[in-house]
Amino acid sequence: MTAGDTHQAIEAIFRIERARLIAGLARVVRDVDRAEELAQDALVIALSEWPRTGAPANPGAWLMTTAKRRAIDAIRRDRMRERKHEEIARELDGGLDGAAEVIDAAMDDDLGDELLGLIFTACHPVLSADARAALTLRVIGGLTTDEIARAFLSSEATIAQRIVRAKKTIGKAALSFETPRGGERAARLASVLEVVYLIFNEGYAATAGDDPIRPGLCLEAQRLGRILAGLTPEDAEVFGLLALMEIQASRLSARIGPDGALVPLSEQTRARWDQLLIRRGLDALARAEALGGDGPYALQAALAACHARAPSWADTDWPRIAALYDRLRAVTPSPVVDLNRAIAHSMAFGPEAGLRNYAPLPAARGDFLFRAGRRAEARREFEAAAKLTRNAREAAFLLARAGACD
């Protein structure tokens, strides 16, 4: 590389390295805030040196070494403050080299694993979903607090405070910044995927006239999903979520009409669907299914894929969609799934099938009415649903819900 790299070019290099840099440093100093500061310090030094020397051949390693040196200097200063002068001399001869070796060893760990560890930490269940999303966008996505605030229709002060609190919570909980293993891993991974999909949906909910940073959240989430897929090649649900996001994103431009209104799936011009994203989504889904994917994300991706493959709304594989909703309902029961399942069954087997003997439809209606405060109507729907179901346990559940309406 040549001397005279501009600040803009150096900052672009830094952006590529930033998340991994913070990940490596956080594992050593056990403090996200401090790791961010150290990374920033390394950037400042690069900005003063690289225009003269040219960017190093391995800028990531250079930035890491520089930040590491700053960390060691800080440790040295702390010890100076804590101890008497005569002790410092001895310390410098022995103990400090030990500290440097510990840091060196930690830095030599696989960088990908460190990044994954940071993602798991930023998405730790000890934090609220909102805090996880903000912190992840900050430390992994590299968004500023202002950008995150605009993306979530919030104020910069609120987001800044949310991130500060999240960092403190992580510090108090003394999290290790490591990738969880064994039984803990599945639950922690679910927490990560929840955050990624939350970010995606926030972007997907953006409407015309919104700050363009909002739809950009879809891209941030897709990028996170792709990073996760690269780092955890054996997790079916990671590929399930990636497939779901890629396929949903393929319809982003088709779902907004010329008047800015949302266009439902049945009315969309399918020629406007992004075929590259569909292909990527189908590839990711195939990977999820090969890994035995039968979780909520893989199932939702399989549903999205049915639409992506169909030449038209009418020519959609409705029996398969109905079967997938049956499965999804067993895995994650919810009124929305019930409602969609009812629609799928009516599309697959005729509207009579949807209307007749079909408990989920009034059950879902009952749930909506209940939450709307229309208790008497809700009770009638739950009772109707209870009569329609042939499952005794479900009938008892529905009658209990009817009873709760009084």
Partner: protein, 116 residues
Amino acid sequence: MRVMVLVKATEDSETGAMDPAWTAEMMAAMGRFNDELRNAGILLMADGLTPSAQGKRIAFDGPGRTVIDGPFAETRELVAGFWLWDVKDMDEAVAWVKRCPNPMPGPSEIEIRPLN
């Protein structure tokens, strides 16, 4: 933003006459580079092209269509391979291309073109 990253052809890539040892080493380095792109979440698609001797061009002139067989003469304007990336801006794309191993034994060029 999406960018197409085009590896421009050279006399070597057009004739296909490259040292197997050099090719093996370059492919290994390119594999590592592609892994990095994938782990950074920016790689959408990548592929190499065969020499233009195996390509065809269709020339349009009003209603006329004439098929021209390769190879094509203007070597430096030909494409030998491509990536499709999803990056935040051109600066990021440039920073990534600078890390790419030289895809050719001699001097070569990679061109970045943003998609519409």
